[in-house]
Structure formats: structure tokens, C-alpha cells
Symmetry: C2
Subunit: 253 residues, 2 copies
DNA sequence: CCTTTCTGCGTATGTCGTACGCTGTTATGC
DNA sequence: GCATAACAGCGTACGACATACGCAGAAAGG
């Protein structure tokens, strides 16, 4: 019976372990000239300024005044860097719900907080996600979301499902609005003219006889006026919370 | 007043226009040796077999027995090819709801149909979407979804929002499950051991005092058993439909 | 038949991630 | 004080990729 170390489960990338503070500096060798947080912050700054596509290893290195390959002493791969960028990009969660907040108000605040982050950091949506969250801030968001549901009679699995449902909605809504915005910028259309332009395009393509319902939507002018994206977000959020409320009530009975 | 041609709105890529059948062959020049559909089908086959990352222009060309640059006579860019791949990959919509179907049953069928497509074509989720749908089949799905809501008192804009909400949910759920699956395959873990392994990893990282709610979820064994992903999907779907039902009832009153 | 217009595609360019190995630095064990 | 081990920085090189450009040959109109 050999001594079993605690390395059960799949291997965790070294840089993630250091994000949890589980890594000390080796006793020998030269002092590191950079640090993982400095690299990640620089990468985030590049993404904020020029988008995720601008984040290349050479660009980040140049920004730091270092050579490209120097970065690989700190992060194992670009994917690892991206994972850490997501953690930093989201930032700390909005914190546990204030006392005397019911679950619905708490989750509303939670969802709006993520909405706000994604509105300012659209590139977060373009990071290819490779697995469930294991970075500190990500799990912090989860924790605070779970706490909102503390007073309910939902099972632990149901709480988790509810959070997944909500965060999925927030991400999806943000993806849609940012796509419209980015597509418009690429085509050189004013943001306010985006939806009308899309409506005209669709109107030109479809045959009203084959797409009657879609045609009705178009003639109703739904795509002609640009709604406040926040209204759109609030609409879906209320629908989902209504659905969750039905479940919470049933469990409470 | 110059004659206004119908090229209002942003430019539509040539290959998309040909997907709508709005393009005839030029009268001169050699006969084309390939066709856009043949190229797209080949690309879809490659993605089905080896994932979206394997879809490069050179790989598709090789598969067709042609040179890389020959493809550019048919599609303007790789992005254009991807857009067409999405259209073909989704395939035709499940059709309008059968007669005497209420909106909830219709949308349930609609959502499960997309769920099924995404389960078989996980790569669809990895295609970076650059704008609102303008390809024939995509708008076909939209049309059929709208028809499900024909009998309700919802406004046209609300119908659209409801569909966006649903399709967003379906995509998000599929993204999560496929990420777990892909992440597990990359780490060499059995699919059934994925969630437990994730649970152990999180348990090792978090401090129960700082993440009490998360710790409670872990000790409840939520992540230890792997649920049927279809159950998870059905759970969220019912929540959302409950929320929509509340709205439909309010409008009907 | 000649010109126009198109197809197929070879070549070349620039960008990217990253494997490999050399050079110089630092702290430890003697 | 000195050898040595462990590490930091990074120059070079490789393979993959999207794609701009331009040339050769094919098909149809005049």
C-alpha cells in the first residue's frame, strides 16, 4: 500500500493551482521577472482594448516588454492563459445577497451583475470554454448564487440547475446583443440602424407565402424599431424567474 | 431620383444569395467543376467526423480532390463557408406544429428537435456566430417556431422574444453537456466518471468556510452521480415554459 | 478566329502556437 | 569560496493556417 497523495482526479494546470494559492516559489534559480497575474492582467487589457482576437502570445509579450517564449515559463499554454483571463475578466462576484432579501430579488441582482460584466467585456463570450469552472472567482459567483436560494425548499441539485439556467440565459442574451453590435460595426452600419437593416434584408429574402408567420412579424415592424437591449434582457429574465417561482412554490407546499 | 435597385441594407455574401437561389450561372467561361453545396456537404462531413477544428480550407479541398485555392471561386471566405455549414448542419426544421397542438406542446417538440440536432452535431456550437440568421433553413426554424405561438394572444415582438429565449436555452444546455463530454475525453476520463471527478476537484480546492453553500452542494452528492442529461434538459425546459405560460395566460385574460 | 470571361490552382506572405535547446542567474551543499 | 543543481529568459525553427495575386487554359459570344 503505497502512500496515496491527494492528486486524485484529473490533473489541474499549474497556473490554476497557483491562482488558488497552492504553489510556492521554488527555492533555487533566478528570481522571476514577471508573474502570472501580471501576464493575465496584460492579456485582459489587450482584450478590453482590441478584442479577444488581438490576444496572441506575441502581442501580450510585446506589451510586457518580454519575448514571446518567456510567457511559457508562467502559463502552460494559451488555453491556460485564456482560462485565467476569464477568471480575472469576470472579477469578484457581487457578493452574497444582502440580509432580508428574498431569493427572487437576490437572483435578479446576481443576474444583472453578470449581465453588466458581459456588457463591458464582450470578449468573455468568445473564449472557448473547455470545461466546468474551477477558478476561484468563478466558483465565487457560484457560491453567491447558491446563497440566494438558501431560504428555499429546493434540493441542492435543483439549486444548481436553477443557477445554470440563469447564467446560461445571461450569457446567451449577451451573446446575441454583442453579435448584433459587432456585425453592425463590421458592416459599417449605425447601431440604431442595425435591426431595421436586418429586417429589410430578411424581408427581401423571404417569400411571404412560405414564411407567413415571419412575414407577419416583419410587417408588424418588430425588427424596425430598435428596443432597449436592457428591456429585452429584463423580459426574458422575468420569464425565467416566473418559471423558477412556480417550482419554488411547489416545493414549499 | 435615380432608380433605386434592391440592394438596400448591408451587403449579403454571394454564397448566401445563391443558397436562396438568387444566383444564376454566368453565360461564359468554363463549366464549374464543383458546386457550393458539394463543398459545404464535404465540410460538414469533415466536421461530423473530426470536429470543427479539422475543417480547414486545405482539408476540405483535399477531401474534394481539388486544390485549396479552388474553393475560393465558390465561397468568399472561410467565414462564409461556416455560415453555410451551419445552415446545412441544422437541416430542415421539424415542420409546422401538427394540427390541434397547443403552443406548449408545439414549442416542446420544437425545442427537443433542436436539442437532438445539437446532440448529433456538437460542432455547431463552436461555430462563431457573426450575426442574426439569414440562411434559408435557419429562417425556416424560426418560421415554424413562430407558428407554434399562432393561437396565443402574444404580440409579435413577444413571440420573437419567446423563441429567442427558448433557442438560447437549448443551445446553452447543449454547450454545457458537450463541454463536459469533450473536456472528459481530452483528460481521458470515462464519461460516467466526469462529474464525480469534477466534484472531487472542486472539493479539493474550496475551503468549506469560505464556500459553505457550494460545500453543501458537494456533500449532498449532487456532482457525484451523473444524471441523465436529458432529464437536466427537460427540467430547464419546463421551467422556461412555465414562465412563458404565465405570460400567455396574462395576455389572454 | 479572336476576345472576353470565367475556372483551377501554384506560389507566396504573414500570423499563429509552441517544441527545443542554449545562456546566464541564483541559491544550496560542500 | 566553489561546484552544482534548478531555474529564468528567449532566439530559432517548424508546421499549420487563411488568403492575396496572378497565370494558364477552357468555354462561349462576336
Amino acid at each position: 500500500m503505497a502512500a496515496q497523495t491527494d492528486d486524485s482526479g484529473p490533473t489541474i494546470p499549474a497556473a490554476i493551482e497557483s491562482a488558488w494559492g497552492l504553489r510556492e516559489r521554488p527555492p533555487k534559480g533566478p528570481r522571476p521577472g514577471m508573474s502570472v497575474p501580471a501576464i493575465v492582467d496584460t492579456a485582459v487589457r489587450v482584450a478590453d482594448a482590441d478584442g479577444l482576437a488581438a490576444v496572441s502570445m506575441s502581442r501580450v509579450a510585446k506589451e510586457l516588454g518580454a519575448a514571446t517564449m518567456a510567457l511559457y515559463r508562467y502559463v502552460g499554454s494559451k488555453d491556460e492563459l485564456l482560462m485565467l483571463m476569464v477568471d480575472t475578466g469576470y472579477g469578484p462576484s457581487p457578493g452574497p445577497p444582502p440580509p432580508d432579501t428574498d431569493w427572487r430579488a437576490g437572483l435578479t441582482r446576481w443576474a444583472w451583475a453578470e449581465h453588466e460584466v458581459l456588457r463591458h467585456r464582450g470578449w468573455l463570450l468568445h473564449v472557448p470554454i473547455t470545461g466546468p469552472p474551477i477558478t476561484p472567482q468563478q466558483l465565487g459567483w457560484m457560491e453567491d448564487g447558491l446563497r440566494c436560494l438558501d431560504g428555499t425548499a429546493l434540493g441542492e441539485g435543483e439549486k444548481m440547475s436553477v443557477l445554470l439556467l440563469l447564467t446560461g440565459y445571461v450569457r446567451n442574451e449577451a451573446t446575441l446583443t454583442s453579435q448584433v453590435a459587432e456585425g453592425g460595426r463590421a458592416a459599417g452600419v449605425e447601431p440604431s440602424e442595425m435591426m431595421p437593416a436586418y429586417g429589410r434584408t430578411v424581408a427581401r429574402l423571404i417569400d411571404p407565402a412560405r414564411f407567413p408567420a415571419l412575414h407577419r412579424v416583419l410587417t408588424a415592424g418588430v425588427l424596425s424599431q430598435d428596443d432597449d437591449p436592457d428591456d429585452e434582457f429584463a423580459f426574458g429574465l422575468d420569464r425565467i424567474l416566473d418559471g423558477i417561482e412556480a417550482l419554488v412554490r411547489r416545493r414549499a407546499a
